[in-house]
């Protein structure tokens, strides 16, 4: 399957970039709405059971292949 990916606005990209770095520095999770796929912010990992939110707080460094 060939991918056709849609970019996001520079403002949205910057918002997400800052959140990803903030989450890594504070060991927080990334929250993504399960229904819409929209990034909604960061949150403590103990809130991971919230409905519609995916919490990811590990493997926050990416490696070069």
């Amino acid at each position: 399957m060939s991918g056709s990916f849609k970019p996001i606005s520079p403002e949205r990209a910057e918002q997400i970039r800052q959140a990803l770095q903030r989450a890594r520095a504070s060991n927080q999770g990334i929250a993504i709405d399960k229904q819409t796929g929209q990034f909604t912010g960061t949150a403590p990992l103990n809130q991971g059971a919230q409905e519609k939110v995916n919490m990811i707080g590990k493997f926050d460094t990416h490696y070069r292949g």
Binding site: L20, R24, G37, F59, D60, T61, H62
Partner: protein, 147 residues
């Protein structure tokens, strides 16, 4: 040894997957029943990433492979072009073998499951969308991180 030969682990994997991702994850195997994986579609910021979370033979000593079932741009960083599991597709480069200094990024066979790998995939795909839009990967490279 296949994941299905360890019944306790198999139960643990299925329970964790259903608790975290519900029915959105689909259990699959090849025709010879030698390779097992989960299919899932990561949805992030208006984009969809079909993935397979596949079990290597030495699982859980080694983490699962996260394999894209969609073609990524050829210059996508943080991917591996091949892997050990006999499935086609580019692999997400999400851990570093032998990593010992950054405990958050070490695969723990006792507690981590394929369900967690899908969570990891969400973070990676979010970073990918930022990279696609700006040309810069928003998460530090391992080489640039101070342990």
């Amino acid at each position: 040894m296949s994941i299905v030969s360890d019944k306790n682990r198999l139960v643990l994997e299925h329970r964790a997957m259903r608790e975290r991702w519900g029915e959105a994850a689909r259990w699959c195997c090849n025709s010879g029943r030698t390779v097992y994986w989960w299919e899932y579609t990561v949805r992030v910021e208006g984009n969809e990433f079909p993935i397979r979370v596949a079990y290597p033979d030495d699982y859980p000593a080694s983490p699962p492979e996260i394999i894209f079932d969609v073609e990524l741009p050829g210059n996508t960083p943080h991917v591996l072009r091949s892997g050990r599991v006999a499935l086609p597709g580019v692999r997400m480069c999400w851990f570093y073998p032998g990593e010992s200094k950054r405990s958050r990024n070490v695969w723990n066979p006792a507690t981590d499951t394929a369900a967690m790998a899908i969570g990891v995939a969400h973070r990676w795909c979010l970073a990918f969308v930022v990279w696609l839009s700006t040309g810069n990967w928003p998460v530090p490279d391992a080489a640039n991180v101070v342990a």
